[in-house]
């Protein structure tokens, strides 16, 4: 059998390589679920212990920015799915454009997140730094914002990594590195981006919605 340059030596053929890549990413995402899962467990425990303080704290968040960012993430996730579909049809140039648009939306997400952080800094909501809260359970309100900054911060790191990955994958798509037969790196990058999107949807519900019904 002829070995093509994209086929790594440990694999017999490209199908096996693509299967391995995809299973590898799913396994990695399982790790990620448990990583964020630990943090979300902590949130659930503390929200059960301090429901009023968490509701009061959540009302300080900017739901307009949160909702806007959710729309941005969902749209970019859709663009990535579309791009992977284009690669299957051998349309590398369109795929590249879609990947780069998705990456641009990722950058926009980070921009809005930065604006939100700046507002919270000015409103003295940063735990361990300048946190001032009035009303019931100031300590528990600080816990809410500790969760908020750790969770959204880790998520933002994931977004930043994803943006770089999408730019590279877009560039490789444009260079016709992927085809109907072989596009595992793009599929796997797509899986990762969808995961980042899903995490945000969960975080949105946990952070912005309590105390607002």
């Amino acid at each position: 059998m002829r070995r093509t340059p994209e086929l790594a030596p440990q694999f017999v053929d490209l199908d096996q390589q693509q299967d391995a890549a995809s299973l590898g990413m799913w396994t990695f995402l399982a790790t990620e679920v448990l990583f964020f899962g630990g943090l979300i467990t902590l949130y659930c425990a503390y929200r059960t212990m301090h429901p009023d303080a968490f509701a009061a704290a959540a009302r300080h968040t900017r739901i307009a920015i949160g909702a806007g960012n959710t729309a941005i993430m969902l749209t970019s996730s859709f663009l990535v799915a579309w791009a992977v579909w284009c690669l299957r049809l051998n349309q590398g140039r369109i795929a590249a454009l879609l990947f780069w648009c998705a990456a641009a939306l990722g950058v926009a997400f980070l921009g809005f997140k930065g604006v939100e952080y700046a507002i919270e800094y000015r409103e003295r909501l940063v735990p361990g730094f300048n946190f001032v809260a009035g009303g019931a359970g100031a300590g528990a309100q600080q816990l809410f914002f500790a969760f908020y900054f750790v969770a959204t911060g880790l998520h933002a790191i994931h977004v930043a990594i994803g943006v770089v990955v999408l730019i590279v994958v877009g560039w490789r798509s444009r260079a016709r590195a992927y085809s109907t037969r072989y596009h595992a790196p793009a599929t796997v990058a797509g899986l990762y981006w969808h995961f980042v999107d899903v995490v945000w949807v969960v975080l949105f519900a946990l952070i912005y919605l309590p105390g607002r019904s």
Partner: protein, 536 residues
């Protein structure tokens, strides 16, 4: 047999080792690193045993003593036991056993070693600049609010090393799923692979929770936001839940690979197929799954609800069932076997006895009432050392001797190896059996000053520890000697089945000249291993 150069001689420049993607070379890098950490952890244990020779605290201050047992625990758990069998023996033989050219992700494999090294060096740095005094468990609120030692540094080291565990686990899962040779179905897999698969699942699912928990500890300590401080609305017990959600399954990360090695050894040196293959295989999976639901037995006296205590106690008894299945099936394999007492087999037999002792005393601890009596005593210390040292380290040495000819291409000196195996067994029992007695008599763990009536047991234990220390140094000497002067090993010195024995010792870089195909069940000792190898 091929004329391709072996993986050891293929390219000897330094960068070809440090930038290698060959799973066999990465395994060697891991060997060197964990051996170093084993002796670092051992040095701390030596100080502990010397101090405990007398009831007074006369060798070190209590502060230094705290740092010593913490360093012993942290280094031994995360930098020796967790990677021991998976990252060294597993890394080396997994692709060989499934007839593959390498792991699925060779570069991630190398990355995992670098992460391990960086994590280990960070932790060692924490030790050298003053150490950590929290115990290996980093319990809050002591670790977050009161300890004056280098908690953040140590936690960072463990955090980084955690990602190396995750990458190893991920690599094994994908490799075992996707890279098996033609004809190698799941029920034809050697049992070592079943147990490594179960281990890998735990590595991937439990380690991230520890990573998050340690991140929160570091953050809490750094910024004082009270995540685990009751005065600020936090809950120190939540730390224990999150910590043991990882650290109890981590016990199975440490023992499952050992069980896998022992299954290989018992079958090979009894010249019989393993008794009840499917039961042994699935019991590894059962241990991994059930092991996720027992963490609360570390918290029986923490004030958790009676209901939680009952559930965790019950689940802990459940885990004993698959463990017992393994022990019964190993002994049934021995029955009417043609048993050879080579050094690996001596280690395997020692494992069965020591693991059974550790496992049965584990059942004592799973009983709510009895556990309250011996909580935080030497009974617990003895129990988990029987599992981790008597079990895992013994299996590690067994596997090391068994695959040594394959790894190095040299035979080790058999009589020295048997002497070391026997010495380890006696030294180990002499060190740790008195600790069961101490625990029942009421000696608490982590104390360096104790009542004079305990002294006789402590002296016995320390005396055993010195035997154990010599016994652990012996393999370092004679295995090192064999690297240069050992007899050249044939491809299959044990007449064993299994694909790893069908390629030269040491194997060429890509393991097999042509991809082997498998037509037989594993451990098919009805045909001799030698004939098996030639047929392929």
């Amino acid at each position: 047999m091929s004329d391709a150069p072996s993986y050891l001689t293929a390219d000897n420049r330094l960068r070809s080792w440090f930038l290698t993607t060959d799973h066999k070379r990465v395994a060697i890098l891991y060997f060197a690193t964990i051996t170093l950490f084993f002796f670092v952890g051992g040095a701390a244990a030596t100080v502990i045993r010397l101090e405990l020779m007398t009831p007074q605290g006369d060798l070190v201050t209590s502060d230094v003593y705290n740092r010593m047992f913490t360093m012993h625990g942290v280094v031994m758990v995360w930098f020796f036991l967790i990677p021991s069998i998976p990252a060294t023996l597993g890394n080396f033989v997994v692709p060989l056993m499934i007839g593959a050219r390498d792991l699925a992700f060779p570069r991630l494999n190398l990355l995992s070693w670098y992460l391990f090294l960086i994590g280990g060096l960070t932790t060692l740095y924490a030790v050298f600049v003053g150490g950590i005094d929290t115990g290996w468990t980093f319990y809050t609120p002591f670790s977050t609010m009161y300890s004056n030692s280098h908690v953040v540094l140590a936690v960072t080291g463990v955090f980084i090393a955690g990602f190396s565990s995750i990458l190893t686990g991920l690599n094994f899962i994908v490799t075992i799923h996707r890279l098996r040779a033609p004809g190698l179905t799941w029920y034809r897999l050697p049992l070592f692979l079943w147990s490594l698969y179960a281990t890998a699942v735990i590595l991937v699912l439990a380690t991230p929770v520890l990573a998050m928990t340690l991140l929160l500890v570091a953050l809490d300590r750094f910024a004082g936001i009270g995540i685990f401080d009751p005065a600020k609305g936090g809950d120190p017990l939540l730390f224990q839940h999150l910590f043991w959600f990882y650290s109890h399954p981590a016990v199975y990360i440490m023992i499952l690979p050992g069980m896998g090695v022992v299954s290989e050894l018992i079958s090979c040196f009894s010249r019989k197929p393993i008794f009840g293959y499917k039961f042994v295989a699935w019991s590894a999976i059962a241990i991994a799954v059930a092991g996720f639901f027992v963490w609360g037995h570390h918290m029986f006296v923490s004030g958790q609800s009676v209901f939680a205590g009952l559930v965790f106690s019950f689940m802990s008894f459940i885990v004993a069932v698959p463990s017992a299945i393994k022990v019964f099936n190993w002994t049934a394999t021995l029955h009417k076997g043609w048993i050879r007492f080579d050094a690996p087999m001596l280690y395997a037999l020692a494992f069965i006895g020591l693991f059974t002792t550790g496992g049965l005393t584990g059942l004592f601890l799973a009983c709510l009432a009895y556990d309250v009596y011996v909580t935080d005593t030497y009974f617990v210390v003895a129990h988990f050392h029987y599992i981790m040292v008597g079990g895992m380290v013994t299996a590690y040495f067994g596997g090391l001797h068994y695959w040594w000819p394959k790894i190095t291409g040299r035979m080790y000196p058999e009589y020295w190896a048997r002497a070391a195996a026997i010495l380890i067994f006696f030294g180990f029992n002499m060190t740790f059996f008195p600790q069961f007695v101490l625990g029942v008599l009421g000696m608490p763990r982590r104390y360096h000053v104790y009542l004079p009536e305990f002294q006789v047991w402590h002296v016995m234990s320390s005396f055993g520890a010195s035997i154990l220390a010599v016994a652990y140094l012996l393999p370092l000497l004679y295995l090192g000697w064999s690297l240069f002067f050992g007899r050249r090993a044939p491809a299959n010195p044990w007449g064993a089945t299994g694909l790893e024995w069908q390629t030269p010792s040491p194997p060429p870089t890509y393991n097999f000249e042509t991809t082997p195909s498998v037509t037989r069940r594993p451990y098919d000792y009805s045909v001799s291993g030698q004939a098996h190898a030639q047929n392929a």
